[in-house]
């Protein structure tokens, strides 16, 4: 941090954030709603823009897709990297006269390099790609939990590419771990997409650590997605995790950050099929506790009729199942806790930079 005339200056921080989660947990939708989330944020200083054309195009196209077309973005077929700048404000300590220390709010530019990989990359047991069938069509590669389109069939991830993904994740400064509780209830395979990746990250970062006994240095924002799903929402409501913000004119429900971890643990415990409860244990074991934070998120948020002043308990589902089985977004997008994990990651990384600099 640069001091000028004794006052802290604006900061820049470069953070590589890796997106991590099972297929269909909503990684691409999460990113796609980011621009909308920033636009709706009460923090007027918050803004986001792309560093390159591809990144800007992603924001533009997916914002339109979500709002105008009311469609979900296509599932990620191949790995992509987006570079955005998230401009926000952060609190920094300020030394005043007579050794008084206060905090000052300074602008912060967080450069985000986001890696979005297909969910199947994170599967515990990498799958060898099947031989391509005649005519280019693919058979079932066993990725039955992969919600990628049928066009994916036959497109197995080469072993070498998976290793690259793991290398990149391990080298990230922050991780955005997306966890879909509904998928866990249905398939019980969340842990399958977690523990293998975690161990590979650990292998890459912890071997040869200068100080034995340390933990992974990453900041991890754990996002339980699809809070707008009636099953997730009702669990939060019935178990007392739901609250409302007085600053929200639409009174959309949310789970406060301080309760998010507890809610997350409850959500995973309710899965009778998998071992998702091990995810929380592993997070505490492998990462510094103060570097892991939980959020309960929804990329598209709850439905609110334009004729209603606020959230209506009787009718809040913001997706509509179409005749062909696909889902369409019903109303306006009101993302919940989409930008907040990135803000936390950015501020945490910036604070970490200051510490290192000092």
């Amino acid at each position: 941090m640069t001091m000028t005339n004794g006052r802290p200056q604006a900061m820049r921080s470069l953070g590589r954030i890796g997106l991590w989660g099972a297929p269909g947990c909503g990684k691409t939708t999460f990113l796609a709603s980011l621009n909308i989330a920033v636009s709706r944020s009460a923090a007027q200083e918050l803004m986001i823009f792309g560093v390159d054309d591809a990144s800007t195009t992603f924001l533009v196209e997916n914002t339109a897709r979500l709002t105008s077309d009311r469609q979900f973005p296509d599932a990620t077929q191949t790995g992509s990297q987006y570079s955005w700048v998230l401009r926000m404000e952060t609190q920094v300590p300020e030394r005043r006269m007579f050794r008084r220390q206060t905090t000052a709010t300074v602008p912060l530019e967080l450069n985000l390099d986001l890696l979005d990989e297909p969910g199947r990359v994170f599967r515990d047991v990498p799958q060898e790609p099947a031989p391509a069938a005649a005519g280019g069509g693919g058979g079932d590669l066993g990725f039955d939990d992969d919600e990628d389109t049928p066009a994916d069939a036959g497109l197995g991830i080469p072993m070498a590419d998976e290793e690259n993904v793991m290398d990149q994740l391990a080298s990230c400064d922050g991780l955005l771990l997306l966890f879909d509780p509904t998928r866990e209830w249905e398939g019980g395979d969340a842990f399958n997409y977690f523990q293998g990746t975690l161990l590979r990250i650990a292998q890459r970062r912890m071997i040869g650590q200068a100080t034995p006994g340390g933990r992974l240095p990453h900041y991890v924002a754990v996002c339980a997605t699809k809070f707008d799903n009636p099953d997730v929402y009702r669990r939060a409501k019935n178990r007392g995790y739901r609250s409302f913000s007085v600053e929200d004119p639409y009174m959309f429900p949310r789970v406060p950050d301080e309760l998010a971890e507890k809610f997350f643990v409850e959500l995973v415990r309710q899965s009778e099929r998998g071992n998702a409860d091990l995810v929380a244990n592993a997070l505490r074991r492998y990462f510094e506790p103060d570097r892991v934070r939980f959020f309960v998120t929804s990329a598209i948020g709850f439905f609110k009729s334009h004729k209603a002043a606020r959230f209506q308990e009787a009718d809040f589902m913001n997706i509509v199942r179409q005749q062909d089985g696909s889902f369409q977004i019903r109303g306006a997008i009101h993302p919940i806790n989409v930008v907040e994990p990135l803000v936390w990651l950015g501020q945490s990384l910036a604070a970490s930079d200051r510490w290192r600099a000092s």
Partner: protein, 608 residues
């Protein structure tokens, strides 16, 4: 000279014993005058003979005129030759006068039927008919239906047996009976007449009443016989009837046919209680007491909607005892059926029958054609009448609501069912305003910005079924926009509005719902089905319809699974739930209560 020879001779005109009077006590012929001097000249004798002949002719002509209007028929027995025109006219006048005080057959039948009507149960009246053929005795009673029961313990006694001195020749005997008795021994005649009762030809005493009928009144021997019989039976009533009997067998012979009904007859009809469908039997008056042979009656009757089989026309005594309380259907004991007929039901729901009274206990239906006697007993007819039926009488408001979302063929199948039902009912409810039909159709809610509040229900108000049929052609299908539910709750909401006033107007309210998907809920539930954008609550609407007395039948494209049958479909279709491929307009109509259910045939007409 014997004592008999010393008795005065009979009157030369009428044959009455002359006695010592100046003139005949019976005919007034001068029997004695004062002695006159001088011989009886030829001229005097001729004059006497002429006057005697004329008096005899007059006496005999009057009897002949009583028997026949033809002066020549009995001329051989008219003493003094054939009467001339003036004499015959005078004889006819005299004949009319001798029956003075007699009653006509009509009043006589009235007297007789009045006496019969007043009989206690089991009592009888003895009718002694004294007529040209002889004396007949008939015991008459009436059964509980008022039908006369007649029996004769002995054949009628002919005059040739009762009065052997009468001629064996029919015409001469009639002449004698009517009053041509100048040649008869009066004393002998009187002794025989006085012996009619003692001889047993007529019962001397009965436990009940005795009525002596003398017909034709004015016939000398008949009158004398009737008087002797009436005087010889205690308490007997003498009825003198003018004119010859219409039937050879006398009044009693035609009594059965000519007797007026003592009790009215009615056609047995069924009444269906609007609220419960309970069937009760009653009668519609067909003939009233006093109706006589030949009386005609026309009744307008109705058949139950959908009933096309033959029906039973049961004629029963009208105004019988009411059914025992608590019995929905009168059993055979309560209705006294006189005759049974089978009638093919006409195509029209309301039809006319015409009946003719042939005699007490005999009714013949002349309209419509094809009415035949029913061979089965009334007890079998009664046993087949259901105690309650689902079809309800009275005017009906019917709303047919159908889901228009789906592929064209499926929507067409739903419309076909509605069309079949309306066409069927239009033929059954032909009275104006008896059936009002309305239509509702829904397309899908669209869950997209700016479209959620779009009205999705198309409406054809209650009115003539023909209008509904025409409008149905325009209720075309639309694509499905939301797979998991259809705006059936909107249909229920509109249907409730359309049928809101039916009950107050005295009309049955019915709703048919034909759909493939369930309704949208009011709030988002665990099944994640999108709630109705208008906030319609199908459960509340179903309750409201039930409280308003609206009967609802649902037809689903396919029979829902067990869970669904216990949920939405069962809740809505409380009067019936069918699968579209397996049902018919007839079945649906039966469940709606607008058409007779197979197996619930009443078998007798309904009161129009």
């Amino acid at each position: 000279m014997s004592p008999a020879d010393s008795r005065p001779g009979p009157c030369p005109v009428c044959g009455h014993p002359a006695g010592r009077t100046q003139a005949c006590a019976e005919c007034g012929w001068t029997l004695r005058t004062a002695l006159r001097p001088g011989p009886v000249t030829a001229r005097l004798r001729a004059d006497f003979d002429q006057r005697l002949s004329a008096a005899r002719r007059r006496f005999d002509a009057r009897a002949a005129a009583l028997v026949s209007a033809d002066p020549g028929r009995l001329a051989p027995w008219i003493r003094g030759g054939t009467p001339d025109i003036a004499e015959w006219a005078a004889a006819v006048r005299d004949a009319a006068g001798v029956a003075g005080g007699a009653v006509g057959e009509g009043p006589a039948y009235t007297t007789l039927t009045t006496a019969l009507r007043g009989l206690a149960d089991g009592a009888e009246i003895v009718i002694v008919e004294i007529g040209p053929e002889g004396i007949g005795v008939t015991r008459a009673a009436v059964d509980r239906r008022g039908t006369p029961l007649l029996r004769s313990d002995q054949p009628a006694a002919p005059w040739t047996v009762l009065l052997p001195m009468l001629s064996a020749c029919d015409d001469e005997r009639l002449f004698q009976l009517a009053g041509g008795i100048a040649g008869l021994d009066r004393d002998l005649l009187s002794r025989y007449l006085a012996n009619v009762v003692p001889s047993g030809a007529v019962p001397a005493g009965t436990a009940g009443e005795t009525m002596v009928i003398c017909q034709p009144a004015g016939w000398r021997i008949l009158e004398d016989a009737a008087r002797h019989v009436a005087e010889g039976i205690a308490g007997a009533t003498l009825v003198r009837v003018a004119g010859r009997p219409g039937e050879r067998s006398g009044m009693t012979g035609s009594l059965r046919a000519r007797m007026p009904l003592l009790r009215g007859y009615g056609v047995v009809v069924a009444t269906i209680a609007p609220a419960t469908g309970a069937v009760t039997l009653g009668t519609r008056p067909l003939f009233k007491p006093g109706d006589v042979q030949g009386a005609e009656s026309v009744l307008t009757l109705r058949r139950a909607p959908g009933d096309r089989d033959a029906t039973t026309l049961a004629v029963a005594v009208d105004g019988g005892a009411p059914p025992p309380s608590g019995q929905a259907v009168i059993d055979g004991a309560g209705l006294d059926v006189v005759s049974l007929h089978e009638m093919p039901l006409p195509g029209e729901p309301v039809y006319r029958v015409r009946a003719v009274l042939d005699a007490p206990g005999r009714v013949r239906f002349t309209e419509p054609r094809g009415v035949t006697p029913l061979a089965r007993p009334w007890s079998e007819v009664i046993a087949a009448i259901p105690r309650r039926v689902d079809v309800r009488p009275g005017p009906v408001d019917l709303v047919c609501a159908l889901e228009l979302g789906g592929d064209r063929e499926q929507v067409n199948r739903r419309r076909d069912l509605v069309r079949d039902l309306l066409e069927r009912l239009a033929g059954e409810y032909q009275q104006p305003d008896w059936l009002r039909a309305g239509l509702l159709g829904c397309t899908d809610h669209v869950f997209a910005p700016g479209e959620e509040k779009r009205k999705v229900v198309r409406r054809q108000p209650l009115g003539d079924p023909a209008d509904a049929l025409l409008a149905l052609a325009n209720f075309r299908g639309d694509g499905i926009r939301y797979a998991d539910a259809a705006p059936l709750e909107d249909l229920l909401h509109e249907a409730r509005r359309m049928l809101a006033s039916s009950r107050a107007e005295g009309r049955s309210a019915r709703l048919l719902l034909v759909a493939g998907r369930r309704a949208h809920p009011r709030v988002l539930g665990l099944d994640k089905v999108q709630p109705c954008p208008f906030g319609c609550d199908w459960q509340q609407l179903v309750r409201g319809l039930a409280e308003s007395g609206v009967s609802v039948v649902t037809v689903a494209d396919t029979m829902p699974g067990r869970a669904a049958r216990n949920g939405f479909w069962a809740d809505v279709g409380r009067a019936g739930l069918h699968a579209l491929p397996d049902t018919s307009a007839r079945e649906v109509g039966a469940d709606l209560g607008v058409s007779l259910r197979p197996g619930q045939r009443i078998g007798v007409p309904l009161s129009a």
